[in-house]
């Protein structure tokens, strides 16, 4: 997939374009960030964090269970992995649904075998359509994380606040009811937020979000409804980013996980823990030819001494305890 440049609106050729003088003004040019959500801070300057049993690296595996509607909206853009062809795109609809029918069981079996405790993010539509999957997660005592309604329902700056409130309420209410869990973790579909998303989430008891990609560790975020945390839920090591977006091989995926683990492990210590986060899509890694690469990646991660496989909430609690 060649990179596109959609941000180029038009060619300069033949167009007389001028910029207002406001283009030369920088109202947010000051110490720190250009918004109020979090403080500027370098990882190296933070207090040390210890994990239970002095583990060096917390392994945070997330399994993403997604529903891509056949009539997926492209407003304001299509989530990665979404429908491609003209309607009805049976080919991509079914390829994604493979994850919820077959791939997920292959992935869960592998996690059981390796003793990994994942966090499982659900589009609420998945929980409603496939209660069996919630049951599989709840009976293993794994944590359910909310991932909006479905992959065709994107939170974005053009969404009115009351409309977004309804989306968040629907997702959280449904998942809390079906799972019986408090559901305090949130991932936005396609990791897209509006200016209001964090406020709305914090007001509804969400304690952490996985959308932000700017850190290796959790950090506090402020909202007008109190504090929540950003948790480092890796988009760059995500199986879908590497194998669908970048089109790297499954072998390369396993190597990249291995390389990340080596680096983070070497940077960690018993008194200063770090996190390796992996996001797995059963429609991607649950395919027969990819599951062995996932096995290789996860086996490698777990073979280190003093790693701690834990859920998002467990990692956040340990982080808050210092």
């Amino acid at each position: 997939m060649t990179r596109q440049w959609p941000q180029l609106r038009k060619q300069t050729e033949g167009k007389a374009v001028t910029l207002p003088n406001s283009y030369m003004e920088y109202p947010s040019r000051r110490y720190g960030m250009d918004h109020q959500w979090y403080e500027w801070s370098m990882l190296q300057d933070r207090p040390e964090v210890s994990w239970p049993n002095n583990a060096r690296v917390a392994i945070w595996v997330n399994v993403a269970l997604e529903f891509f509607p056949l009539n997926q909206s492209s407003e304001p853009f299509k989530a990665p992995g979404g429908m491609v062809t003209a309607y009805p795109d049976l080919r991509h609809y079914t390829l994604r649904d493979y994850g919820n029918r077959v791939g997920v069981f292959r992935v869960f079996r592998l996690l059981d075998e390796l003793g990994i405790t994942p966090t499982v993010s659900f589009n609420s539509k998945v929980a409603e359509r496939y209660p069996r999957l919630i049951a599989e997660v709840v009976q293993r005592d794994w944590e359910v994380m909310a991932n909006g309604i479905d992959m065709g329902t994107i939170h974005h700056g053009g969404l009115a606040e009351d409309a977004e409130t309804a989306l968040i309420d629907e997702s959280l209410t449904s998942l809390r009811e079906i799972s019986g869990q408090p559901v305090t973790g949130w991932l936005s579909p396609a990791r897209s937020e509006s200016m209001n998303t964090l406020d709305l989430l914090a007001a509804r008891g969400v304690e952490y979000v996985g959308d932000w990609q700017n850190d290796d560790m959790p950090y506090a975020m402020s909202t007008n409804a109190g504090q929540l945390y950003s948790m480092p839920m890796s988009h760059e090591l995500d199986d879908q980013t590497i194998q669908l977006q970048y089109q790297h091989s499954e072998t390369s995926f396993a190597e990249q996980v291995e390389d990340a683990m080596t680096v983070v492990y070497n940077e960690s210590s018993a008194c200063n823990g770090r996190i390796v986060s992996l996001v797995i899509h059963p429609w991607m890694s649950g395919q027969p030819h990819r599951i062995r690469a996932l096995r290789r990646a996860l086996t490698n991660v777990m073979r280190y001494d003093s790693v701690w496989s834990a859920s998002g909430s467990q990692i956040l609690k340990a982080f808050q305890a210092g």
């Binding site: 304001p76 853009f77 937020e193 700017n214 390369s252 990249q256 390389d259």
Partner: protein
Amino acid sequence: MPDSRTPFSDPADPGLYDYWPWEGRPKLTWPNGARVAFWVAPNIEFYELQPQPNPIRNAWNRPEPDVLNYSIRDYGNRVGMMRMMEVMDRYGVRGSVSLNVAVCEHHPELIEACVSRDWEIFSHGIYNTRYSYGMDEAQERAILEDSLETIERHTGQRIAGYLAPALTHTERTMDLLAEYGILYTCDLFCDDQPQPVNVRDKRLISIPYSLEMNDIIVYNSYQEPPRRYAEMLKANFDQLYEDGAENGTVMCIPLHPYAVGRPHRINAFEEALEYITGHDEVWVTTGREIAEYFYEHHYDKAVASIAEANGR
């Protein structure tokens, strides 16, 4: 101020340099008989969450706030920078920093880390979300004056180099760089050696900065895996080292801490750095040092050779 722009006289050719075939050039040599001048140029950038809109180019692919892409870039400043810097320290490589000037205000800790290592700082515009497209001369001058003043105030350095913000230019950019006494531009990718640039007044050279070895181009445009990036860097070096025995070359690795500084990618860079600095006839240097050396020892010879090649 009136717009004194003189558009490129031939719209098909910027006219910024003359054709100068590789074969037949006078021999370029580097200090201590090095074959390759090797420099690493980290881009330390700030992307605004909600920048002023530019009519030609959107800052973000997604509707604002583009939380995903904003935070991917912010990673470089919070985490990636120090990881990258530690690798460079290990191999004794000083960076030549292509700086979004507003980082001086937003993140002075990063500037301090560079200055304390005797790294070079040059300008990469004010923000990477403010584009030169559509700027009139006064506006473009304001960018350069801001760059010169702010960087000098925060680092004590007078900038020697320029990489246009997000690689956005106007037809007068090169003329203005020369006028303000900037020694080199990183914006021209047509050669493996420094090149005189045709400017209205004074002198300017281009120093090879390399899009092909740029981590963002490799990872986001070519979408190569990290281990392949290490192979590409080593192959690029091997050829420039071989050719450099005949006529000196420049190799640059342009970096972005938000890309190279990810845990799954840093080893590829380290592998390449270890390989390159393990060779004897390499001058590990900075953009400013390359420019100053070139002006002193080769600029006049290059100008004469170009004139001859073009029948002047």
